[in-house]
């Protein structure tokens, strides 16, 4: 293709990408570098139905002048990134110096909000992504061997977790694992412990969230693999059968290599999705047990006083971590692309 026609061909999508992807990211990065101006606080008397009290208030006129001069706020550089609610550089350094054991250092680190959230987010991503790929593949193989007449309903049934609205799906599970719900009572019976409660125990809650995460994303892996299975070369499969390959050997040596590029694709999408885990924590009311980076952003924006810079800094850190997580997969794709040329 000529350079000229290539330029005009991709121009619309380049414009859209700049407008809807690049510019918002630039604005978030900018926001994270600025904080609110110093607020001029005055003591005033507030009166209402319950009498008068002395309280503090922001002196609007004094603060307004600062705001008009610099509407973006006060330039803070990386201060927000370094404060205790984010990377907590000084707290981590102090903990490293003062801890006599690695365990003590680890406990202090996990007590910091950002690292606590990061540890759950990474654990969730590291467990849910491979589980989704493995189980999705297993479901795809199983559905592919079902008799043709039953395949339609089976596919529909297998896609259900994806069709059910995530919040609703999670809420249903949340009620089922309640100490008085069917699964909760079942677990109490299995463990022979009538006081067992999934919602009261942090490890159980983590397992619950991961089970839900896997359950809700299996259909995505399944449908991608199922589409891939339809393109497996039947001649090769038959040749393998004639050579005496068992069903397992055919899957291992013919099907899996054929589906490898799809695995890369699913891993990419799932890593990104799982790193931004959010809805299950809300639906399971699990904030006391598990916090993710997205939950941290949500609480910053949902409070009575919105912490825009703090939320922006956490967003940028999330983007950075997603980029780090994806880099091995991306490098691999790049290399494959280079060799196939």
């Amino acid at each position: 293709m000529k350079h000229g026609s290539f330029f005009w061909f991709v121009l619309p999508s380049v414009i859209l990408m700049i407008l809807f992807i690049a510019l918002p990211i630039v604005s978030v990065v900018t926001q994270s570098l600025y904080t609110q101006h110093e607020q001029v606080i005055v003591t005033v008397e507030n009166c209402g139905p319950f009498g008068c009290t002395e309280a503090q208030s922001v002196d609007q006129e004094a603060t307004q002048a600062l705001r008009d001069a610099q509407p973006l706020g006060k330039f803070a550089g990386l201060d927000v990134y370094k404060d205790r609610n984010h990377l907590a550089i000084t707290d981590v350094a102090r903990a490293w110096e003062n801890s006599d054991s690695f365990r003590g250092f680890w406990n202090t680190l996990m007590n910091l909000p950002f690292y606590g959230a990061l540890s759950f987010t990474l654990t969730y991503t590291a467990i849910v992504t491979p589980m989704t790929i493995l189980l999705g593949f297993a479901v795809a193989i199983a559905v592919n061997s079902v008799a043709r007449s039953l395949r339609g309903p089976t596919i529909f049934f297998s896609l259900l977790p994806m069709i059910v609205t995530p919040l609703v799906g999670a809420l249903i599970l949340f009620w089922m694992v309640d100490a008085r719900g069917i699964l909760g009572t079942g677990l109490q019976w299995l463990a022979n412990d009538p006081t067992l409660s999934v919602k009261a125990s942090t490890p159980m809650m983590w397992i619950m969230l991961m089970v839900y995460g896997t359950w809700s994303s299996i259909p995505f892996a399944f449908i991608v693999y199922y589409a891939g299975l339809q393109t497996v070369n039947q001649d090769t499969l038959e040749a393998a059968m004639i050579d005496g390959a068992s069903r397992w050997e055919r899957i291992r040596y013919v099907v899996i290599p054929h589906l490898a590029p799809l695995t890369t694709f699913i891993a990419l999408i799932q890593l990104m999705d799982n790193f931004r885990v959010f809805e299950p924590i809300i639906s399971f009311q699990a904030q006391a047990h598990a916090r993710s980076l997205s939950i941290a952003i949500f609480t910053d924006l949902g409070g009575e006083t919105r912490l825009l810079s703090s939320a922006a800094a956490t967003s940028v850190l999330t983007i950075v971590f997603v980029a780090i997580l994806l880099s091995p997969v991306l490098v691999r794709t790049w290399r494959d692309f280079g060799t196939s040329k």
Binding site: F50, S57, E304
Partner: protein, 415 residues
């Protein structure tokens, strides 16, 4: 001829209607300008909003009542002209609007249109009228008469007595987890700590500054009491918000709890629970903790504001309609029990006794300072660690102070 008759009849009816409205002393026929209300969603606010919009039927009217109002009101009032001409707020949420400078002082409007509004309904900040309050709310004890009688107990007045009563009820085998409470991690849990800490006589900030001071003996006392109470709660208490706690009550699993006055109506009506539960549900006064003498609860008001970035005509329309909607004209058989109304003509109903007792006991209003919301968020994020036994009370309080300090520095309250 027929047409003329009909037209005459119409005029006659209109004239009668106008006269009766005039006789009421609250002429309400606004037919120009614009009113657009944003506020929380519960029956009392729905009644106020409906009457305001009806009053301004001739003008451009809109309302958006939602539990998420706090995330929308600042954004919806920042533009010029503002999308919302009025936000219905409480003493915690008005500070965000004052901090962002999106609501206007009402002194001129009160002078022109609000001569009837009694002074105790006016909320003033530094001498400027910023809102008009119309109802009061507070958390107080709700108890089951039959359960206390069965265990041979008096109605508790302090949290120490609640603990003793809970132990007796459990020991007698009446209920396994007799204590309830909205202890869901986040806003609710922070609110319970705020109540308890005020009850111990602690103060949140160094006077006149935004420096937090909760890592002290009172802070530890408040946390220890909360933890002691959780021993008698359903083990899932960290997931129970006000709704879930009310559901536990209606299911008959709880005999003692600290609950919002605005929610007791639901607990005492005959919907959603068995007769033995709703017939025996009674409200008590606010509870105390330790010997400070201050009730461990906070007083709240709900009131309306007028946006800054709107025309004078829109402000006048909004003010008049809402002033009418929060005047005695609002009160009737249906609305009387919806809240503890602040206007004249309100007659207390049995469900309101708890809130009135809290006011009478000299409870503290929820602090109306610009940085209280940041502390509330920090409390909600950290207290669960202590209640689950992961760390000491001192460590939790230190974490809360550190989280608050970082947030307050970012917001420019601390340098």
């Amino acid at each position: 001829m027929n047409m003329i008759k009909t037209a005459l009849l119409g005029t006659a009816i209109a004239a009668v209607a106008t006269t009766s409205a005039m006789a009421d002393g609250h002429a309400c026929a606004i037919d120009s300008g614009r009113i657009s209300i944003i506020g929380n969603e519960f029956p009392a606010i729905q009644s106020v909003s409906a009457l305001a919009l009806e009053c301004a039927a001739g003008a451009e009217t809109a309302s958006n009542l939602t539990a998420d109002h706090q995330t929308l009101n600042v954004a919806g009032m920042t533009g010029n002209p503002a999308e919302y001409t009025s936000a219905i707020v409480a003493n915690s949420s008005i500070v965000a609007l004052i901090n962002e400078d999106v609501i206007q002082p009402l002194d001129a409007l009160v002078a022109e249109y609000g001569a009837d509004i009694p002074p105790h309904q006016l909320i003033t900040v530094d001498g400027n009228i910023m809102a008009v309050a119309f109802m009061a709310n507070a958390q107080h004890l709700v108890y089951r008469k039959d359960v206390l009688e069965q265990a041979g107990l008096e109605v508790p007045t302090s949290y120490e007595e609640v603990l003793a009563a809970a132990e007796k009820i459990r020991a007698d085998g009446i209920m396994e987890n007799p204590v309830g409470g909205a202890y869901a991690a986040g806003w609710n849990l922070a609110q319970e700590f705020t109540n308890m800490y005020i009850g111990t006589g602690g103060s949140f900030f160094e006077p006149g500054t935004a420096n937090v001071t909760i890592n002290n003996a009172q802070g530890v006392e408040a946390l220890e009491m909360m933890k002691a109470l959780t021993a008698y709660m359903n083990p899932d208490y960290l997931t129970h918000d006000s709704n879930a706690t009310s559901a536990e009550w209606e299911a008959g699993n709880v005999a003692l709890m600290n609950m919002w006055g605005s929610r007791t109506g639901v607990l005492m009506d005959d919907e959603g629970s068995a007769p033995e539960v709703y017939e025996n549900t009674a409200v008590g006064g606010p509870l105390t903790v330790g010997d400070s003498g201050t009730p461990a609860t906070t007083l709240w008001w709900d009131g309306w504001t007028v946006a800054k970035n709107i025309s004078d005509e829109e402000a006048a329309t909004t003010f008049q309609a809402l002033a009418h909607a929060t005047s005695p004209a609002l009160l009737n058989d249906e609305t009387m029990s919806q809240a503890v109304w602040l206007m004249e003509g309100f007659e207390a109903q049995p469900v309101n006794e708890g809130v009135l007792a809290s006011v009478a006991a000299g409870s503290t209003p929820y602090p109306m300072v610009p940085f209280q919301g940041l502390l509330h968020s920090a409390l909600g994020d950290n207290i669960a660690d202590f209640l689950q036994g992961n760390e000491t009370a001192e460590q939790t309080l230190a974490d809360i102070e550190a989280a608050y300090t970082a947030a307050a520095t970012e917001q420019g309250f601390l340098q």
